[in-house]
C-alpha cells in the first residue's frame, strides 16, 4: 500500500492508495453527507449524496465508490453540490410516505437529520403517496415499505455480514421493493435468522422493532462496527 497525495477543498492531503475518496475526505474531518454508505458494508453508490466536484472539469464523482488517485483535485462543497444534495433529499421525501410525525424513527432518522442539516424546509416536488404494504408478520420486527429509501443497507448487511441473504430487491425503478426471500411474509421466511442486523442498519423507519411507537425506535449506529471489530478481535461483549 502506497501513500498518494491529493487536493481536497484546496488542501493538499495524503491518503493510502487503497482508500476511497470518501474515506480520505472524512479522515480530514470534512463533513460530507451519505445515506447508502455504512462503515463495514460494501459501497453501492446509490444515494448520490456524496458526489464531489473534480476541479477544472464539470464532472461529478461519487466519493464512496471512487478510489483516490495521485493528483486528484476535488471540492466537496459548492453551490451546485449543495443544491443537488437538497434536491436528492427532496426527491426521496417525495417518493414514498415519509411522515415524520407518525414515524417510529422520528428524531433518530438519518433521512430526517440530513434534511434538517441541508436546510430542506419544503419539498418542491409533488408527493407521490404510493399505497405500499407493511409487513408485521415477523415475531420481533416490522417492515414498512412506506419509509424505505432503497439504500439496500439491509440487503447488504444480511448478505455480507449475516450471510443469510434474506433480503433482496424486487421490481425496478420506482416500483423497486425490498422483499424477504421471494416475496414472502417476513415472518414465514426460512432464511431470516432473526438477528436484527438489518433493523439496526436501516437509516429510516422502514425496519423497526415491533412494539415501538412514534419516536421510540433508537438504532445503534455503532452496531455494525462492533460486530466487525468483535469478529476480528474476538470480543463479544457489547459496550
Amino acid at each position: 500500500m502506497s501513500v498518494i497525495t491529493l487536493t481536497i477543498n484546496e488542501q493538499l492531503v495524503s491518503a493510502q492508495s487503497e482508500q476511497t475518496l470518501l474515506e480520505a475526505i472524512r479522515e480530514q474531518g470534512v463533513e460530507i453527507p451519505t445515506l447508502c454508505h455504512l462503515e463495514g458494508l460494501s459501497d453501492k453508490g446509490g444515494c448520490r449524496l456524496c458526489m464531489v466536484e473534480a476541479v477544472g472539469t464539470n464532472r461529478l464523482m461519487p466519493a464512496c465508490v471512487t478510489k483516490v488517485q495521485e493528483g486528484m483535485n476535488v471540492r466537496t462543497e459548492s453551490e451546485r453540490l449543495v443544491e443537488y444534495r437538497k434536491m436528492i433529499i427532496e426527491l426521496l421525501l417525495s417518493e414514498r410516505n415519509h411522515i415524520c410525525a407518525v414515524c417510529v424513527m422520528n428524531g433518530h432518522c438519518e433521512l430526517q437529520s440530513l434534511a434538517a442539516n441541508l436546510g430542506v424546509n419544503h419539498v418542491r416536488y409533488e408527493y407521490v403517496v404510493p399505497d405500499l404494504p407493511m409487513d408485521a408478520s415477523h415475531e420481533r420486527f416490522v417492515q414498512d415499505q412506506n419509509r424505505c429509501i432503497l439504500c439496500v443497507r439491509c440487503v447488504r448487511v444480511c448478505h455480507e455480514v449475516e450471510g443469510a441473504h434474506n433480503w433482496d430487491v424486487m421490481g425496478r425503478g420506482v416500483n423497486s421493493m425490498v422483499i424477504a426471500d421471494l416475496y414472502q411474509p417476513w415472518g414465514s421466511s426460512r432464511s431470516c435468522t432473526g438477528c436484527g442486523k438489518c433493523v439496526q442498519v436501516c437509516p429510516t423507519g422502514a425496519l423497526s422493532k415491533k412494539g415501538s411507537t412514534v419516536a421510540e425506535m433508537v438504532k445503534h449506529h455503532d452496531f455494525l462496527g462492533w460486530i466487525m471489530n468483535g469478529r476480528e478481535k474476538n470480543i463479544w461483549e457489547y459496550r
Partner: protein, 569 residues
C-alpha cells in the same frame, strides 16, 4: 476445417447456386414476418417444390425496405433482379406463374420496387452486405461470399497486436452509441493482465424504434461470430458471450444454429481452423430490462446477478466478467470487423468523415415514406437520409424533427438538417448517434409529448439503484404530464429544467445521465411549444388534450377545496 477446405466449400456453393435457372429470395426477418411473410412462404413452397432442380427458394434476412414488406426478390439467370413489395400469397403465386415458370418470363409490373432510387443507390452496405442476400441459416452461403476468410487471414498472417493496430488505423468506433475507438479498447484488453479473458457482444438493443442489431443477428449471424472470434484471437480470450434480449427469439434461434454449425465445422470451438486458438461462444438471453444494454449491468446479468450497473472505473477492460478483463462491443461493431480485416484499414478509413469512419446502420422510422433499415456512410447529411433515402414525409406533411439515439438522444430540427451525421456533430446538437434509431416526425407531432413518451420509457426502465434516476425520471415524467395536460405553471418548467441537470450530472449510469436529453433538446429547439402549453394553454401541434387548468393563486385553491364547516359547541 482449414483454409483450403474453406476455399473448397465456397467454390462448391458457388457452383451449386449456378446450377439453378433462377433463385427466389424471400425475407424471413421479424419485420416481414409481422407483415405476412409466413403466408407468402406457404404459398411459394409447394410451387417451388415441383421445380426443385430449376429454381431455388432462399429464405433470407432483411432486405431493407421493411415498411413495404413482405419482400420477394427474383433473380433469374441472364435477367435483371426484380424486387416485389407488399407481396401477398396471391401475388406470390402470380410471380411464380408469370415471372419464374415461363422460359420467356414477363415480369409483373405492379408491386415492383424501383432499385435505382436513392434508397438503394445512396447506401453503402458493409455490415449488411449479406443481409437479404444469403440464407442466414446456411454457413455455406456465408462462406461463398467470403465469410470466415478474414478469421483465417488473422489467425495465419497476423499477430494479435497486428489485429488491434489494424483496427486502430481503420478508425472504427463503437456502434453502441458512445463511439469509443474500438481498436484502442481491444488493445487495452489485449494488454490487460489476466489468465482468463472474455469477449462479449452486446445485442441487448432496446431503444424504441431501433432494430439494427436484431436484423444483423437474424440476417447474418456468422458475421457477428466471425467478428467475435477475431476479437477473441486479438485480445487473448477463449470464451465469448452474445447477450441477446429475450424479445428476439428469431435472432436467438439463428445464432444458436450458427454457433452449432460453426463449431461442427471447426470455425469455432477448440483449435479454430486448425490453429492453436480456442474460442467458444455461448448465448445469454436477457430478461427484458433496457438497462442491461449498459455494459456493467449486462455483465452483472451474464453473471446471474440483478441487472444493475456499477460505477466505472474499473472499466470492463480491466475488471469485467468475474473480475477478468472483458472486451465488450456492440453486435454491429463486431459486424464491421471481418470486412476491415479482409479489405484492410486503409480501405475502411476512406469511408466516412475525419473522425467517424465507416458506415452506420439506421432504423429509419416514423412519418416517412420509406421506413426500413439503411446503412449509410458516416458524414451523410440528415437531409439526404430523410428526403432522399427516406423519400420525404408521408402524406405531404412538413418535416419537424428527427429523433436520433432513442431515449438517450435528442430531436434535430429543420435548421440542422444539413448537419453531417457523425458522432461529434450529433453531440454538438444535443443529440447523439446512439445505437441507430432514427424517428422522423412531422408537424403534427407535439414535442413536449414526445419528451414525455421518452421520459416514460426511462422511468419504466430505470433500475432503481440510484436516487436521481429512480425518482428524478418519475418526477420529470409527472411535470411533463402537467405540461401536456395544461395544468403546469412556469414554476413547473423551471423545476423540470433543474431536474434535467440533476439527473444528467448525478445519475450512476448512462441511462440516467442521458435520460434528460429528449427534454433538453426539445427545450433547446422547441421552447416555444412548451411555453404555448403553459402560458397559452394550447398545444400548437394539436396533439395534446388540455383538460386541466393550473391553480395559480391561493384564492382559487381555497375555492376548489371548500372548507368543511365545523360545528362549534
Amino acid at each position: 476445417m482449414n483454409r483450403p477446405e474453406l476455399q473448397a466449400m465456397a467454390e462448391q456453393e458457388i457452383e451449386r447456386q449456378k446450377k439453378f435457372r433462377g433463385r427466389l429470395l424471400y425475407c424471413t426477418s421479424t419485420a416481414c414476418v409481422s407483415s405476412g411473410a409466413t403466408a407468402v412462404q406457404e404459398a411459394l413452397e409447394p410451387k417451388i417444390k415441383l421445380l426443385k432442380d430449376e429454381i431455388e427458394l432462399v429464405p433470407t434476412g432483411c432486405m431493407g425496405l421493411c415498411g413495404r414488406g413482405p419482400l420477394v426478390t427474383v433473380q433469374m439467370k441472364d435477367q435483371p433482379e426484380v424486387i416485389y413489395e407488399n407481396v401477398t400469397p396471391e401475388l406470390a403465386t402470380e410471380i411464380i406463374d408469370k415471372h419464374v415458370l415461363p422460359h420467356k418470363p414477363a415480369p409483373i409490373t405492379e408491386h415492383v420496387l424501383q432499385t435505382d432510387v436513392p434508397f438503394f443507390t445512396k447506401q453503402t452496405r458493409i455490415v449488411l452486405a449479406n443481409s437479404g442476400v444469403i440464407n442466414p441459416e446456411r454457413l455455406e452461403e456465408y462462406v461463398a461470399r467470403g465469410g470466415y476468410s478474414a478469421l483465417a487471414h488473422a489467425l495465419r498472417e497476423m499477430t494479435p497486436r497486428d489485429v488491434c493496430h489494424e483496427l486502430i488505423h481503420s478508425g472504427l468506433r463503437g456502434r453502441g452509441g458512445a463511439g469509443f475507438p474500438t481498436g484502442l479498447k481491444w488493445n487495452m484488453v489485449r494488454k490487460a493482465v489476466g489468465d482468463r479473458k472474455y469477449v462479449v457482444a452486446n445485442g441487448d438493443e432496446g431503444d424504441p424504434g431501433a432494430y439494427m442489431d436484431r436484423t444483423l443477428m437474424e440476417s447474418d449471424p456468422h458475421r457477428v461470430l466471425e467478428g467475435m472470434a477475431i476479437a477473441g484471437y486479438a485480445v487473448g480470450a477463449e470464451q465469448g458471450y452474445v447477450y441477446v434480449r429475450g424479445e428476439y427469439p428469431l435472432a436467438i434461434k439463428r445464432l444458436e444454429k450458427a454457433i452449432r454449425t460453426a463449431e461442427r465445422k471447426g470455425l469455432l470451438g477448440s483449435r479454430v481452423m486448425e490453429s492453436g486458438f480456442n474460442f467458444r461462444v455461448d448465448i445469454r438471453i436477457g430478461a427484458g430490462a433496457f438497462v442491461c444494454g449498459e455494459e456493467t449491468a449486462l455483465m452483472a446479468s451474464i453473471m446471474g446477478k440483478r441487472g444493475q450497473p456499477v460505477t466505472r472505473p474499473p472499466y470492463p477492460a480491466e475488471s469485467g466478467l468475474w473480475g477478468h478483463p472483458t472486451l465488450i462491443n456492440n453486435v454491429e461493431t463486431f459486424g464491421n470487423i471481418a470486412a476491415i480485416i479482409a479489405q484492410g484499414a486503409e480501405w475502411y478509413s476512406k469511408i466516412g468523415t475525419a473522425k467517424s469512419k465507416g458506415t452506420k446502420i439506421f432504423a429509419l422510422t416514423g412519418n416517412i415514406v420509406n421506413s426500413g433499415l439503411i446503412e449509410v456512410p458516416m458524414g451523410i447529411t440528415l437531409r439526404e437520409i430523410v428526403f432522399e433515402i427516406g423519400g420525404g414525409m408521408m402524406s405531404g406533411r412538413t418535416y419537424k424533427a428527427a429523433q436520433t439515439g432513442g431515449p438517450s438522444g435528442g430531436c434535430i430540427p429543420t435548421e440542422h438538417l444539413d448537419t453531417p451525421v457523425d458522432y461529434e456533430s450529433l453531440k454538438a446538437l444535443g443529440s447523439m448517434m446512439g445505437s441507430g434509431g432514427l424517428i422522423v416526425m412531422d408537424d403534427t407531432t407535439c414535442m413536449p409529448k414526445i419528451a414525455k413518451f421518452f421520459m416514460e420509457f426511462c422511468m419504466d426502465e430505470s433500475c432503481g439503484k440510484c436516487v436521481p434516476c429512480r425518482v428524478g425520471t418519475m418526477q420529470m415524467h409527472r411535470l411533463l404530464g402537467h405540461i401536456t395536460n395544461g395544468s403546469a405553471t412556469e414554476d413547473d418548467l423551471k423545476r423540470l429544467e433543474e431536474l434535467c441537470l440533476l439527473v444528467r450530472d448525478t445519475s450512476l449510469c448512462g441511462l440516467g445521465n442521458s435520460s434528460p436529453n429528449p427534454i433538453l433538446s426539445t427545450l433547446r429547439y422547441f421552447r416555444s411549444e412548451y411555453e404555448a402549453h403553459i402560458k397559452g394553454h394550447t398545444c400548437p401541434a394539436g396533439e395534446c388534450e388540455m383538460s386541466e387548468r393550473p391553480i395559480l393563486d391561493l384564492a382559487e385553491l381555497m375555492h376548489q377545496h371548500q372548507p368543511v364547516e365545523m360545528e362549534v359547541s
